[in-house]
Symmetry: C2
Subunit: 327 residues, 2 copies
């Protein structure tokens, strides 16, 4: 356990800062930030709890730190925004040693460097039993142009910026055998769980279309996110199962498991959204030029709020049951 919170935090402050808007970082009662006038500010918070969101057997300390930050970066991406900074609150039980805690901060630092976020504040406290990391991220988005989940309209295409289900498959492997015996062929799905990559560029490209695009990140499972858009926009969403991408890394699992993970797995951090048909080709072109995948998986329709999935002649309701911490 670190002896002094102040020294501890000092040690982990990155030497350089990415954003000139940061006037005063760690070292006073609050951070001071001079927001650029042509942007709105974005804020989100996500918490990872030991034994709930991770275990020592499934995630290394640096992966825990990395993931605690990127799950929030993904929320900024889902608004079409640019992540800027983060504050870290960490509650530490005595069974985590200094070396492991250093690695947690190093994991956050790695993610911060990858997406250019400044660490601007934090609180380090002790915890009687479980490690709890709560990260708040701030970002910016061009004024009045955040991509909201209320923006879906009948006629829009439904898109996905990457395949889903990989993280859940990776977790399945990790829970079966632990993180020290991962096969080469399982590396991609395990990485998807341990070190997910938020789709910041895909969100920025969507925003730069200047169109009415509804956007969510797939943190709680594809079905759950589609339901959120349908409910927020008061529309029906109709997915075609044969258009939903299936990553080849899932082929080693039974078909039933595969689809369970694709629709309900969660923690994939790809983006799902809706876009007017006239904007589709342009988005597709820009994504292709950026080397990023994009899948057209269905349509927004008039009618009662629902999410339907069609396979051949058959159409059924896609249940909402994504990952829910209270189930």
């Amino acid at each position: 356990m670190p002896q002094d919170e102040f020294d501890w935090i000092q040690k982990h402050i990155p030497a350089s800062q990415f954003h000139a808007e940061l006037v005063q970082g760690i070292g006073d009662d609050a951070a001071v930030y001079a927001p650029p006038s042509s942007y709105d500010q974005l804020y989100c918070v996500d918490t990872l709890v030991e034994h709930v969101h991770f275990k020592r057997e499934t995630m290394s300390p640096s992966q825990i730190g990395y993931k605690a930050l990127v799950v929030n970066i993904s929320d900024i991406a889902a608004m079409g925004g640019i992540p800027l900074f983060y504050l870290v609150s960490i509650a530490i039980p005595s069974h985590w040693n200094d070396k492991e805690l250093d690695l947690i901060y190093q994991g956050m630092k790695e993610a911060g460097e990858e997406w250019h976020l400044d660490m601007i504040g934090g609180d380090t406290v002790s915890s009687p039993n479980d490690l709890v990391i709560s990260v708040t991220v701030g970002g910016k988005v061009e004024k009045e142009r955040a991509l909201l989940r209320t923006y879906a309209r009948p006629g829009d295409y439904v898109f996905l910026t990457g395949p889903t289900g990989l993280s859940a498959a990776g977790l399945h492997v990790l829970l079966s055998r632990g993180r020290h015996t991962v096969d080469d062929k399982e590396r991609i799905i395990v990485d998807a769980h341990q070190k997910p990559k938020p789709h910041v560029n895909a969100g920025r490209i969507a925003l730069q279309l200047h169109d009415r695009i509804a956007l969510n990140d797939v943190s709680d499972g594809l079905a759950s996110e589609l339901w959120e858009i349908a409910e927020a926009s008061n529309v029906s969403i109709h997915i075609h199962k044969d258009k939903v991408p299936v990553a080849k890394e899932l082929n080693m699992f039974p078909e039933e498991k595969r689809w369970e993970w694709i629709f309900f797995g969660g923690e994939d951090f790809v983006l799902v959204g809706t876009i007017p048909p006239y904007a589709w080709e342009r988005y597709r072109t820009l994504m292709k030029e950026a080397g990023l995948p994009l899948y057209h998986i269905g349509l927004v329709e008039e009618g009662e709020v629902t999410v339907k999935v069609s396979e051949k002649e058959e159409t059924t309701i896609l249940p909402k049951d994504g990952y829910n911490h209270f189930k």
Copy 2:
């Protein structure tokens, strides 16, 4: 335990909002906020952990919620700022029931209404053992005018906006007998621990002087906060013990305990700062007009970084040992 996070959060969103700058609150991946152009933004985070910062025996659920928010408001006050909004992350073990959780949110709402903060986001997750509440608060302060702890200079007066030690005395009572058997004569000290009042107005009045004022809130004990200012400003601080206010509510305790709490107790959330002598009379007058206490307790001096306390002819070093979570 709440069945669905979304419904749960929906229930606790206040019906009205205080700040027009809030474009989009809870209900999307991130909150959207349009910052006013003549202000810098302020950010801080504080975490309360069950069995570390509170126990069911010392704090009611609504007091826990209230305090989780006001400890952060106090950090904004210590920058001379105006608190604006908060994000709540709460990790809930199964031994806390829905009714108690409602009360925690009600406590936060009460504090939010008292200081006009909008709840703009959150994360609600389960916890295997202990309740953990982490609150991030955003505020604003006039551009380039935040009151920093680096601002102390030799010759400045050292001031305090209220007596210290009450919260520690209150905690002493609560730990001895629990929260259900508090005497009338102990009510003020127990309230100081359970429902502290951040000194937002005192901070705003200090800021409006347009002077070089260093400011801290007394979260970690008066000695520790004085050391922080001395270190950040590279000065020596010299306190006169007979000028340090002693609340009459502490008179029922032995003298040694009393001074231990006054210097090292912590969680008082009054403000301690330094001010150039020429600005002192104006601050005193404005504070008096606002009906707020203000104490001149010492001087900033040249020399090695230290905090000294004089009593009659004797001067000693005031040890730094405030409340430190790692001791």
